[in-house]
Symmetry: C2
Subunit: 253 residues, 2 copies
DNA sequence: CAGCGCAATTTTGCATTCATTTTGAGGATG
DNA sequence: CATCCTCAAAATGAATGCAAAATTGCGCTG
């Protein structure tokens, strides 16, 4: 018998559905997803079923259900009789994921032009200038956060919960890479990105859907190029490492 | 002890991952998904857990795992302590889903322009003229199939398995509506659609990515309008019916 | 006769248990 | 000394069992 851990629930947003579940095994799903997305387990490493059971204070059944869902979401991989592993994203996967993000943002921009309010545009402008400040101060971290929030605002303004959920899903998958990729931002690319963002804002103000759609896709393409270049560089330093990694770090922390 | 059901596996494409699982509980997932997508259970109706267990010859555990995944995919809904129901798509949901499809096809078209071979274009042309034939003969059913195959070919030509999986997922969600919507095609809309398809083919030949992207989105928007108009008409005839439906049809057939 | 409440049955959710497979170590053998 | 085989230990995948919640049916009351 387990020690009846409270398990009281945050709202939690599922990627597949929009109605907020009040509480359920969805709590565990959400927690496990966060746990994985936040990088608590190394890429390619096994997902320690039993230890996670202890960590969450549950039995294997609900955990395995959550694992199945996470596999469907593309965060982990389920090998036939050899358990779950954190999904190792190949170069190809990253190409594909960045293009997916490009497509989704492109769509979000188009829809946003149909639905965005003036106030929302004002808010995005505010974020934009804030971001510009971080750019001038070379504050990479806050620049990244402001950047992310702008993109999220656009997705928000699309008024499409389905799109928002899909966006969250794919964003989760490449979260680690995106963040590390940010460190790659050479000054030059950074300036480019700022100019692109100005174009985005301009198109948004004019509610030029098709145009914004185009800009956003190419913006993401540039991001993809920068990110993957960075990744290649990093790999040159530390080649193909963690494919057979048996690491199962800080499960108990 | 179960009677050792063969369970030999079709390839099966998961929505989240691309590597083909040879066989697994994924077999059940796939079967159950098909079962739902094919409309064997009425919209809004409860998913009869026990009966499905008997149908598939398994216990509740793997079935419930599959249900969780299907819920994440958006095909069914999981109510806190009241089991699973076939997801009832609201008007809003349909709006959103059609726009999602528009975004995905838009992206597919853009990427296809980068990757499609001349042979593939030739094949799409062939399908196009075939479809044109069905159009002239007013053969709605085959027109629909050819149409669908063209769109699938474009997605195929995007060379993006992630996109393909997402496309399959969303296509599955609105499958029923899309098909029924087809019956709504007034002659006028039909002719419009043919013209749009010619523009699609033209842009594809010229590898005009941005242009194709735009055309495809608006093409899907038109489809959405037609489909939802049809739906509205149908609803006028038979208003809000199946919300409390307890139907659990041909589970044993 | 209609509305309400209560108890029995069903159903849901999770824990536990069981069979099968994989994995690892140790020893035997060439 | 390396390789392969055997066997034990662990883990995976699925079935069953059990407590709690919900649904249903029935009797009661107004």
């Amino acid at each position: 018998m387990k020690s009846t851990i409270p398990e009281n629930g945050e709202p939690l947003t599922r990627p597949g559905g929009n109605g907020g579940e009040p509480s359920l095994h969805g709590e565990i799903l959400s927690r496990l997803r966060d746990y994985v997305v936040e990088g608590n387990i190394a890429e390619g490493a096994r997902v320690p079923e039993r230890q996670l059971c202890e960590l969450f204070g549950i039995s294997r059944t609900p955990l395995r259900e959550a694992l199945k869902v996470l596999a469907a979401e593309g965060l982990i991989e389920l090998l036939p009789n050899r358990g779950a592993r954190i999904r190792q994203l190949s170069r190809r996967d990253l190409d594909e994921l960045f293009d997916m993000m490009g497509g989704l943002e492109s769509l979000a921009g188009r829809l946003a032009c149909e639905n965005i309010t003036d106030d929302e545009i004002t808010e995005i402008e505010r974020l934009h200038y804030e971001m510009y400040g971080f750019y001038l101060r070379r504050d990479m971290h806050n620049y990244f956060l402001a950047n992310q929030r702008i993109h999220e605002k656009i997705v928000e303004a699309s008024r499409n919960a389905t799109l928002r959920a899909a966006y969250a899903n794919f964003a989760g998958r490449i979260r680690r890479v995106r963040y590390s990729a940010n460190f790659a931002r050479k000054r030059q690319r950074w300036g480019e990105a700022m100019r692109e963002h100005e174009a985005i804002l301009d198109a948004l103000r004019r509610r030029a859907g098709s145009e914004l759609s185009d800009i956003l896709f190419h913006h993401l393409r540039a991001k993809r190029t920068a990110a993957l270049e960075h990744l290649d560089e990093a790999e040159r330093g530390a080649p193909i490492a963690p494919i057979g990694s048996t690491t199962a770090p800080n499960v108990n922390s």
